[in-house]
Symmetry: C2
Subunit: 313 residues, 2 copies
């Protein structure tokens, strides 16, 4: 235990030397460029493309794709397939936002500082733009070049499967169902954790696992980084809940105070604000401890864990 | 030309000996059983699973999955991966029906003899059940067993890519966008063909191509069966339009006369009923001519082409 704590402090020191802002901004730029190329090369000039672009290219944190790339870096080297996989994950995240924002669900009007897709276009177009982003993600994940060989193809199938499972009816979609069912009800802490583990945690985990597989990580590394991802995924959601109370809507590009007005159970509403913040910090520390088993190639993952709880949007 | 006609007559004779009804009913049973197992094994007991099952397990023609299996049979032998791929295609077809039926789109209340998903459940659940079926399809297509090797994995990526492209923003989804935009407008024949090629033709083509790839068909066979699929896909849509005028709603399990009441352009509305029927027969004959290059393992495909235009639902 003492050793672990010492290692963890070493991680924190390492992390502080790492320039996270430059890293995040360079990765964001790389991902935004790749997303722009993918959307322009893979869809014809049409209303559906405009709607997909509207939601996808609005400024986002790009947390999931950056985690995918950073996980690949932590175990090996990232490559073009990693960037494309990272982009596919961001497309799936964006599709889920478009559908969650629909009138039949959260009925939100503002997202990433822009009108939501069904406000900017219409409901039918928003439903189809979400469907199209989800489908394009799998098209990108499965694209085959003339030069590709069977070698590595099985790992690519594993990545597709990991992402599909996380996004599906035992992951993100079940989480959204539980979220809708919970509106107006008071949840216990365990139910809230379970719901968020599905709704946001599953795709964050899949992002990290996919990157680890593509970086040729071994089984042990995959297991450890899955643990890392689980901790930061939960910390991410707690911070989201905190920002919904204390955040600045101008910085965040979305409304605040919405959880309370909708009667949603949140970490602050169940644990109180101070205990929620402490819980998030504990989870980040647990995530950092897992990373003690990795060398300095995991510095981006260390810095991201820290960023998760100190971000203001 | 004479030879081609003679070969085509030979195909028709061959086809008549083939017991299509037994074939279709045995394949439907096989696919229904596999779909039931997949949905029970891959989703927890929950509302979202009930909604997915409601739409997926309602009696359907299962045309696309049967075409996938029949194409694999025509070039080689179908196998377990072919049945699973066939099931995934049916899930994608069902997701598209659930979303097309939504109030924001066609606002239909009856489908496959059952209340549509948003009527039986609610709108949010129907949107998410569609999303979940689409996602589960890709989970099934990418599932990897411990015994799997890299060999064949590249072909499986090709199949996923073929299906995703057909279902996406340059295929089925763009077709649905064009269909919505066309409501109340009078379309020309070429625009109508283009719209249907995307909306229904693309996934029918992908079903046949996927089966051909999984049956280890060569490039020439893929090209020929793609041509076959294009012809029967269009013939299928024309027959759908005809049945929307002349069909029996009790047999079809859905309302008739809806195209006219919505002011939709259809083949009968543009060409007239007799010319539409003649056009559908010509397309089937063209499809049969393509099959002259295949032996009697393609009999199911021959019989299905015939069935496309004589069906009553």
């Amino acid at each position: 235990m003492f050793l672990k704590n010492r290692l963890s402090r070493k991680s924190v020191r390492k992390m502080n030397k790492f320039d996270l802002n430059s890293y995040l901004s360079s990765k964001r730029k790389q991902i935004d460029t790749a997303l722009g190329i993918i959307i322009d090369n893979n869809s014809k000039d049409s209303t559906i493309r405009d709607a997909m672009k509207h939601s996808l290219m609005a400024s986002g944190k790009r947390l999931r794709p950056i985690l995918c790339v950073a996980a690949a870096d932590a175990v090996g080297n990232h490559s073009n397939p990693t960037i494309r996989t990272a982009c596919a994950i961001e497309m799936i995240h964006t599709y889920s936002l478009i559908h969650d924002d629909l009138p039949a669900m959260d009925n939100d009007t503002l997202r990433r500082g822009q009108p939501t897709c069904h406000i900017k276009f219409d409901e039918a177009t928003a439903i189809l733009a979400g469907d199209a982003l989800l489908t394009l993600a799998f098209e990108i994940l499965s694209s085959v070049n003339a030069a590709d060989t069977d070698r590595g193809a099985l790992n690519r199938l594993r990545v597709i499967n990991t992402i599909a499972r996380a996004a599906g009816c035992n992951g993100m979609i079940e989480g959204q169902m539980q979220d809708i069912a919970a509106e107006g009800k008071v949840l216990g802490l365990e139910d809230l954790k379970k719901m968020h583990r599905l709704k946001t945690g599953a795709l964050i985990e899949a992002s990290v696992i996919s990157g680890t597989i593509l970086g040729n990580g071994n089984r042990d590394q995959i297991e450890k980084l899955k643990n890392y991802a689980r901790n930061i995924g939960l910390a991410f959601q707690i911070t989201d809940d905190i920002l919904n109370v204390e955040g600045d809507p101008d910085i965040m590009g979305k409304d605040v105070g919405t959880d309370q007005s909708r009667g949603k159970s949140t970490y602050p509403s169940i644990l109180g604000m101070e205990k929620s913040k402490k819980f998030a910090r504990k989870l980040v520390n647990d995530a950092l401890k897992v990373l003690d088993y990795f060398d300095n190639k995991a510095d981006p993952l260390r810095a991201i864990a820290h960023y998760i709880v100190v971000r203001n949007k």
